[in-house]
């Protein structure tokens, strides 16, 4: 891949992501919205593995990966170096990871970065499980989803716990901006990245990204599946500013959760179980009420 390929795109094709990978689509939107004057610290995970196998890279921005749980701290170091060099007015710093690298193993480093007030945008690509190791449950796995470590079974509906509320955990640090987005709405992702990068200080953006392999959904329907998560109320799109809910994407006529669940094999076991369906619908209803999505 020669330098010319990166003139307009800062994340290019040729990488080895699966067909229909939602994360890869979101990365392209984020990188291009951020633009040339950006440095990226990347945690270990699917993205790092499929985009940067030596001697190739899909990134046209200065990019660094070291470990699984530390991209927030590495980004903090880059931010400090830029500050020391007097370049922080011109160069933005992004730290990015999957949901496991963010809300589970990376939580401490993220909290430190936010609490120190570092001028970094943290982007979590939320595909709701450890996909790189083969679909194990993370703290971000949704209620009743089947994963290899929360399998459905005679005594199990799948993951017994709701998603860890990372956007609220970050907002609780009273940072300038903490938001969710969905790759199903690329323009909204782009707007939120640009908005976040226009603000100085720590920012958090969590993007819902379907994983066709892990979710057992049609790889040609990634965006449709992502949209349904938003339209059912199972993935609320919200924006917090300085700890307060500032904006939400309204869903005046929410779709029933079955419409979303039936697109994915990870929820198939719920479709003929009316009680379980009611419980998942209750999660969506609670979101709609809590965030005022109607």
């Amino acid at each position: 891949m020669s330098r010319e390929h990166f003139e307009e795109n800062f994340y290019v094709s040729g990488h080895t992501a699966c067909a229909g990978c939602g994360q890869s689509m979101a990365v392209r939107i984020v990188m291009n919205a951020a633009g040339k004057n950006t440095m990226v610290a990347n945690s270990t995970g699917c993205l790092e593995v499929f985009s940067t196998k030596a001697p190739e890279t899909a990134f046209g921005l200065p990019w660094v990966h070291s470990l699984f749980e530390n991209s927030a701290a590495v980004a903090s170091g880059i931010e400090a170096a830029l500050k020391f060099q007097g370049k922080l007015d011109d160069i933005r710093v992004i730290s990015q990871a999957g949901d496991g690298g963010t809300g589970d193993i990376g939580l401490q480093a993220i909290s430190g970065m936010l609490e120190r007030g570092q001028d970094v945008l943290y982007v979590c690509y939320d595909n709701e499980a450890y996909m790189n190791t083969g679909i194990q449950r993370s703290g971000s796995t949704p209620f009743y989803a089947h994963t290899t470590t929360t399998p459905k079974g005679k005594y199990s509906h799948g993951n017994p716990r709701p998603k860890k509320p990372m956007v609220e955990i970050c907002a609780a640090h009273h940072i300038p901006y903490s938001a969710t987005a969905s790759v199903g709405n690329p323009k909204d992702v782009e707007r939120k990245v640009k908005k976040a990068l226009s603000i100085r200080g720590p920012k958090y953006l969590q993007i819902h990204v379907p994983c066709p392999l892990g979710w057992k959904c049609d790889s040609s329907k990634t965006l449709e599946v992502a949209k349904l998560a938003v339209q059912t109320g199972l993935y609320p799109l919200v924006e917090y500013e300085y700890g307060k809910l500032a904006k939400v994407t309204k869903i005046p006529s929410a779709r029933p959760v079955q419409e979303y669940l039936q697109t994915q094999g990870r929820f198939r076991h719920l479709l003929k179980d009316e009680e379980a369906l009611k419980e998942v619908q209750a999660v969506a209803d609670k979101n709609i009420e809590y965030y005022g999505l109607k």
């Binding site: 903090s76 170096a81 609490e115």
Partner: protein, 380 residues
């Protein structure tokens, strides 16, 4: 030590407090607070993040500094390996301290020894003057464009970190003249974007490790040349691979690292006055390991004893095993485990090690054991 780090003008400092390292980072924070050091000082939430921060800042092209000890070093150990693998010449002071359990804040060298295979240059200081010199010269060695490796300056916790000692502190002008500004061949740069820390599959991984190993071998002659330059500029011979103390005609030589070498030198002087032919071989550079110099220094010595402030449990002391491996099976070598968890190594302890070395070969002898604390079957 904080003063020495300051003289090297690091742009980013990140560390997490841990006894007995804490006052080093406190002093650096003071320097930043009162403007004596122009740097970003980050108060991180763990040692893992301390090392990750300096990884990031060094990758962005800024000279960086961290320091830690014991559990802190182990917590950041994952990052420690990454820093060398990514060829980032970070400087770290390790205030050597014992490892839990049982929890113990006092000195031994188990922490840095546990990370000997990490690809860092490891230098062990006998006193605070050497520690000062090693920080300044260490940056120069690690930042050599052919080397690009991190350096760990190991200083015995409390014995050195909390000891009062008069040191000759170079001036800022002298250090500036010796240590050029950090200008790495590769860094994160928006005008020349590159990717760092890629996935290395089986087709390339071995070569990266081979390159690291060969580069560490190249550090050995560099220690000589930088040490020579350091001596010319600052008048001290502290940057070297080994120090031979009265070994030429010695019958019995103890091999050791760090502050215990001072104690051993006192015993050597006293024993020499009595006509006993004893000496000390001080290992300064543990990584890279100066095999040729060690073999040469001990070639004619009939009895060799190795002092370890660490133990590879189930085997023997780490330094003992390595000295044994380079000297061969025929050589009479004893190994002593001593000074663990802050237990004093007294003059009498050193004298008994010299005596025992000559008397019988014991590969792994724990010295000064309090037998009252042991099970009966362990009392032999």
């Amino acid at each position: 030590m904080a003063e020495a780090a300051k003289l090297c003008r690091p742009g980013v400092v990140a560390a997490y407090p841990i006894t007995p390292q804490t006052h080093i980072v406190e002093h650096l924070a003071e320097f930043v607070a009162n403007g004596r050091l122009k740097a970003e000082s980050l108060t991180v939430e763990s040692e893992h993040s301390a090392c990750s921060v300096v990884l990031g800042s060094q990758a962005a092209g800024v000279r960086s500094f961290t320091c830690t000890s014991s559990q802190g070093l182990l917590l950041m150990s994952e990052v420690v390996f990454c820093v060398s693998g990514m060829r980032l010449p970070v400087m770290m002071i390790c205030a050597n301290r014992a490892i839990s359990a049982p929890i113990n804040i006092w000195n031994d060298q188990q922490d840095s020894i546990a990370l000997r295979d990490s690809g860092w240059i490891q230098l062990y200081a006998e006193n605070n003057q050497e520690a000062v010199d090693m920080v300044i010269a260490g940056y120069k060695i690690g930042e050599n464009p052919r080397i690009m490796l991190p350096v760990m300056v190991c200083v015995d916790g409390f014995i050195l970190t909390h000891g009062m000692e008069t040191v000759d502190m170079p001036s800022q002008e002298e250090v500036d003249a010796f240590l050029p500004a950090y200008n790495p061949p590769f860094k994160l740069d928006v005008d020349d974007p590159m990717s760092f820390g890629l996935l290395g599959d089986p087709s390339v991984y071995t070569e990266t490790r081979y390159a690291l190993h060969k580069t560490l071998e190249e550090v050995l002659p560099l220690i000589d040349s930088v040490g020579k330059e350091y001596k010319e500029k600052f008048g001290r011979d502290s940057i070297r691979k080994i120090e031979e103390y009265k070994t030429e005609d010695a019958e019995t030589v103890l091999v050791a690292m760090g502050s215990v070498c001072g104690t051993i030198k006192d015993v050597v002087d006293a024993e020499r006055e009595k006509g006993n032919k004893v000496g000390l071989l001080k290992i300064v550079s543990y990584r890279p390991f100066p095999e040729a110099e060690i073999v040469k220094a001990l070639a004619k010595v009939p009895y060799v004893g190795v002092v370890d402030k660490d133990i590879s449990l189930g085997a023997a002391g780490a330094l003992y095993s390595e000295i044994k491996s380079v000297l061969g099976a025929d050589k009479k070598i004893s190994g002593f485990i001593s000074g663990l968890g802050g237990r004093d190594i007294k003059l009498s302890t050193v004298r008994s090690m010299f005596t025992d070395t000559k008397k019988e070969v014991n590969p792994c002898k724990f010295v000064d054991l309090n037998k009252e604390l042991l099970w009966d079957e362990f009392k032999v």
